[in-house]
């Protein structure tokens, strides 16, 4: 049991709110202070980000955590941009057709800024060849050579037929053409013999004729069978002619492109493959010419490279950086990091009811655009987008980007998909998120630690010191200038810094949630301009704070009204046994307010059960339940330890119909129990906050300012009596930053705030009776709180024993 017995005095006004003197802020007498460069109080995080930006090894991606409004995104953007400027402009990447396997587009790396040039060169090449090749095949030179080949082959066959016909004629056989083929028949007097005439010939003559006809039939069949072979040979010669003619033209046009890219082996290899393909598919250009002749557009200016037939020669630029205009490596912020936006996608077109795609429909993603530089993503957005996180991890692990659709990843794709070459990536990812997400990833994703080795942890607040105060003052001025706001004067700066303390919930610190302060400055700027001022003063900031609170406080005001109208029962004077004013904090959307709540305790003989009614009806959270269970520990360890614990007690937050969690009311609950057990009434003009340990120490809680102000407002609405106040844990003194109104009331003796260390101190203040401390015999002083509680619990134990004796004879002595 804590042994602090003396009751502490109320806190002095100076202890309730830090007061900053504008003259001590280090601001210049006139003019704006020197701009603040860098980031205040975030050395740990900044160093981590700088390391992530500079270290070359894989896996050193960074997860940036911190409270909202702490400037994480701005810091990441600024630091990465700074580092990126010193890095080389990364190479360009393109996809080109794989002429041997069109479903596997080829990637190609090019020097920065050259991808667009290659793309335009290929487009011009197609346009040029669309004119050159048809002209070539229409040229007299080609036509002559082609006709010569045709004549040569044509005449070969015709000569064979002519020779055969002559031989047949010499043997007295005629060749008769029929719809189905040729018939051979004997001739007489220059005319074919009819069947009846043939039958009139003698047998030998008929046999001879039939023999000749049979031989000639075989000969003719062989000649006719040769025709397809001759045709094939003819076709090959024509193809050879076409190829050699096309090659001349294509080579001439290609030479210019090859000269421009002579230093790139990959491009030269591609151009070679393209050349071969163009030569093999010269008919594409002839077909285009045919379409031209049927179309309305003048041939000379038509852009053939837009014709889908020539897609195979296009260059799909995935990412290109112009070294003339780019400032180092890219820094990409992807605001919508879904799967497609991250890794890219392959689009499809519908044609005749079927889906069609090719390499020109591959679109780049953020990973492509950030290649060679940095990619900044919001962690929550990535994790919420289906398959995006998985895709990001795979890309980082493999060091390359593979474009696959969601359907493919899930195994649903039933149509043939493209399989483009994965593009290697070398980049650094900065994920910005909150601590909860970070903790989840660390615990649940085994890959996370390997891929995000760095954590940039932004502080919530910075210690107050002259140095930090001066820096913060300059920072506020810099932020205002950046936003185009009026500059805060010394008074305004001091007021803003006081608010920064308040937001930190700690009088020894300034919050680093600068965005919240900036919002106040923005609103204050508006009031200043309305008032015709050129600077923001303390008055404007006061108003901004008040207006912000007013906008958010509708619920608070309705609750206060309910208290005022005695709908919600809260006593602010007198004393009641087993009842106390606890304090809780409620709020939403960043606005918090405190309010008193009546806590009551009832006791009787029982089997040692402490009923937390909130928990019984599932309105109490685990932390609240823990606090109540600690009370059991305190009671059982401190009172009537030599008898069974025979208390049945119940605790409840009266008129509370929403959830309750946290143990900040556990000291109040204990006071209520002690009051109920001892029979000593508790002062209702005091409210209590603080958690309690099993040894009776009063421990720090959160929201101490709001809780004090909540009770103050309730008392003020009824009229301050001068006796009202709040008991807080001593360890919360450092967190005090009360509203000036409260401080003024304390100064005027109308209200008090007292810091206690132990239950003994608190119960003495609340009951007016000393708590009592065991003497050497282990007994509490008579009439002390503890003595009364102890006696009551013993009485309960005796009552229980007596009951057992009455109802279960023979058992009572053992219990």
């Amino acid at each position: 049991m804590a042994n602090t017995q003396t009751t502490p005095p109320p806190l002095a006004p100076a202890q309730l709110r830090p007061k900053l003197d504008p003259d001590t802020l280090g601001l210049p007498g006139s003019g704006a202070p020197e701009p603040f460069e860098g980031f205040l109080g975030q050395d740990r995080a900044i160093d981590a980000i700088r390391l992530a930006a500079a270290v070359p090894h894989t896996g050193f991606n960074v997860f940036v955590v911190g409270p909202q409004g702490s400037g994480r995104h701005r810091a990441v953007a600024s630091l990465l941009q700074e580092e990126a400027k010193g890095r080389p402009v990364p190479d360009d990447w393109v996809y080109v057709n794989n002429f041997e396997a069109e479903h596997k587009p080829r990637k190609m790396r090019l020097a920065p800024g050259t991808a667009q040039a290659l793309k335009q060169d290929m487009e011009s090449l197609v346009d040029d060849l669309a004119n050159d090749i048809p002209a070539l095949f229409e040229s007299e030179d080609y036509q002559t050579q082609r006709r010569a080949i045709e004549q040569e082959f044509g005449e070969r066959h015709e000569s064979e037929m002519a020779d055969f016909a002559e031989r047949a004629r010499e043997q007295g056989v005629a060749l008769v053409r029929t719809p189905m083929g040729f018939m051979l028949t004997a001739i007489k007097d220059g005319k074919p013999l009819k069947p009846d005439e043939f039958n009139q010939l003698d047998e030998d003559e008929r046999a001879e004729i039939e023999q000749k006809i049979e031989e000639l039939q075989e000969e003719l069949a062989e000649i006719l069978r040769k025709a397809p072979r001759i045709e094939r040979e003819h076709r090959r010669q024509v193809e050879g002619l076409n190829a050699s003619m096309a090659e001349r033209v294509v080579t001439t046009r290609m030479e210019e492109i090859e000269a421009r890219f002579k230093d790139s082996e990959a491009v030269l290899e591609y151009l070679g493959a393209a050349k071969r393909d163009i030569i093999d598919n010269a008919d594409l250009f002839l077909a285009a010419k045919q379409k031209d002749q049927e179309g309305a557009f003048p041939e000379a200016v038509k852009q053939h490279q837009r014709d889908p037939s020539f897609d195979r020669y296009r260059v799909n630029v995935m990412v290109s950086h112009d070294p003339e205009t780019a400032e180092g490596a890219p820094v990409i912020h992807e605001d919508l990091p879904n799967l497609d936006h991250l890794v890219g996608r392959i689009e499809h077109m519908s044609q005749m009811g079927a889906l069609f795609t090719n390499f020109t429909m591959i679109k780049s993603g953020a990973l492509h655009r950030a290649n060679g530089g940095y990619l900044v993503l919001d962690a929550r957005d990535v994790l919420q987008a289906p398959m995006a996180w998985d895709a990001l991890k795979r890309s980082l692990k493999s060091g390359s980007v593979t474009i696959t659709s969601a359907a493919e990843r899930l195994g649903f794709a039933s149509t043939i998909q493209l399989e483009p070459d994965p593009i290697p990536i070398d980049l650094r990812v900065a994920l910005v998120g909150d601590r909860f997400l970070y903790a989840l990833l660390v615990h649940l994703d085994p890959d996370f630690g390997e891929l995000f080795k760095l954590q940039a942890d932004f502080e919530d607040s910075i210690d107050r010191s002259d140095e930090s105060m001066a820096g913060y003052a300059r920072l506020l001025s810099t932020l205002a200038a950046r936003e185009g706001l009026a500059a805060p004067d010394a008074g305004g700066t001091a007021r803003a810094l006081e608010e920064a303390i308040r937001l930190a919930d700690d009088a020894t610190k300034f919050t680093l949630r600068t965005e919240a302060l900036l919002d106040l400055l923005r609103e204050a700027d508006h009031y200043a301009r309305k008032a015709g001022r050129e600077t923001i003063g303390a008055e404007q900031l006061d108003r901004a704070v008040a207006e912000q609170e007013r906008r958010a406080s509708r619920v608070r005001d309705r609750l206060r009204e309910a208290v005022q109208r005695d709908i919600l029962k809260v006593e602010t004077d007198g004393s009641v046994t087993g009842q106390i004013n606890g304090l809780s904090v409620a709020g939403q959307n960043g606005y918090r307010f405190g309010r008193p709540a009546r806590i009551t305790a009832r006791v009787r003989t029982g089997a040692g059960k402490l009923v937390d009614i909130e928990r019984e009806v599932e309105l109490g959270g685990p932390l609240h339940s823990k606090g109540v269970m600690i009370l059991s520990g305190y009671l059982t360890a401190n009172y009537a330890t030599d008898v069974p614990f025979s208390l049945h007690a119940s605790l409840v937050f009266e008129q509370s119909y929403g959830g309750i969690d946290g143990d900040s009311a556990s000291s109040a609950e204990l006071y209520a129990l002690l009051s109920a057990l001892s029979g000593l009434p508790l002062r209702q003009d005091l409210a209590v906050t603080g958690s309690v340990s099993q040894t009776g120490e009063v421990q720090a809680i959160g929201g101490v300012n709001e809780k004090i102000e909540g009770f103050f407002d309730t008392c003020k609405a009824r009229g301050l009596t001068g006796d009202q106040g709040v008991l807080i844990p001593k360890s919360n003194m450092e967190h005090l930053c009360l509203r000036p109104e409260v401080v003024e009331a304390v100064e005027a003796g109308q209200f008090s705030v007292t810091a206690v260390e132990s239950i003994d101190q608190g119960i003495a203040l609340l009951t007016g009776v000393p708590a009592g401390q065991r003497d050497d015999d282990g007994r509490f002083p008579e009439g002390s709180v503890h003595a009364l509680v102890d006696a009551r619990l013993r009485a309960f134990a005796e009552d229980r024993r007596d009951f057992m004796r009455r109802t279960l004879p023979g058992k009572g002595e053992e219990q």
């Binding site: 015709e158 008769v176 053409r177 029929t178 189905m180 083929g181």
Partner: protein, 249 residues
């Protein structure tokens, strides 16, 4: 004597089979497109000679693909001829509708060349169809007559047909005097037999001749011309004033 240019543009296409008709229709369409023909006539001639040959029990034929197979029965042959005639008629009708010209069709029995020659007086131009074994274009061969006006007319048509087929025209002449005055591909032969021998070894897409002039005017010589050409033969001069002379004259 100057000859009048063709003003009436009536073109007769004669064929013994669908393959023969198809090759002729291709040329006919070229002429129609270039307004050298406006009325089309089709004449399917069924040769009883080959029908009777198919009656021979051991009769065989060699298909265009080089297979030796049995000859069809006379009934099957007759059915085939009927089908082909119907198909010829349909193709002619389609062409006429496509090019918006008048058309007519007739079917006869007899020798193809003789029947065409007999029908020729009612037509300005006659086209004797002959299916070609090879698919390539070949050259357009025109037989150069002695008369310069006639030669010019034949040449003009030959050039037109050659342009339409995407090929070149070549003149076959019997002597230097018949050769065209202006430079053009020309081959000179000493006599008609040499010309036919040369023609039979030529890869020809079509042969064009004027039957009013030149050695190939009667049915027999025209038959020999068709046999040697092994491609469609276009006959000019088929007007009443100089109708094709009967065989032997």
């Amino acid at each position: 004597m100057s000859r009048p240019a063709i003003t009436r543009k009536r073109l007769l296409i004669g064929a013994g089979s669908l393959a023969d008709a198809a090759s002729a229709l291709q040329l006919a369409e070229i002429l129609v497109l270039r307004q050298m023909a406006s009325d089309l006539g089709g004449l399917m001639v069924e040769d009883p000679a080959w029908l009777s040959f198919s009656e021979r029990p051991a009769g065989k034929l060699v298909t265009f693909g080089g297979e030796v197979t049995g000859a069809p029965s006379p009934q099957a042959a007759a059915r085939l001829v009927e089908r082909e005639a119907r198909a010829f008629r349909e193709k002619l009708e389609l062409l006429a509708r496509r090019r918006r010209v008048e058309w007519s069709f007739d079917q006869q029995t007899g020798d193809l060349v003789a029947n065409i020659v007999g029908a020729a007086p009612k037509w300005d131009v006659v086209l004797i169809g002959h299916g070609r074994l090879q698919r390539g274009a070949g050259r357009v061969v025109w037989l150069s007559p002695a008369d310069p006006d006639a030669a010019q007319e034949v040449r003009d048509i030959a050039d037109t047909v050659a342009r339409g087929l995407g090929t070149e025209a070549v003149a076959f002449a019997l002597d230097e005097a018949d050769a065209p005055a202006t430079p053009q591909t020309r081959i000179t032969f000493p006599d008609p037999d040499a010309l036919l021998a040369g023609l039979s070894r030529t890869y020809a897409a079509a042969v064009i001749t004027d039957i009013r002039a030149g050695p190939f005017a009667d049915a027999a010589s025209l038959r020999a011309l068709v046999d040697a050409a092994r491609c469609p033969v276009l006959l000019l001069g088929a007007d009443p004033a100089s109708a094709g002379r009967p065989e032997g004259q």
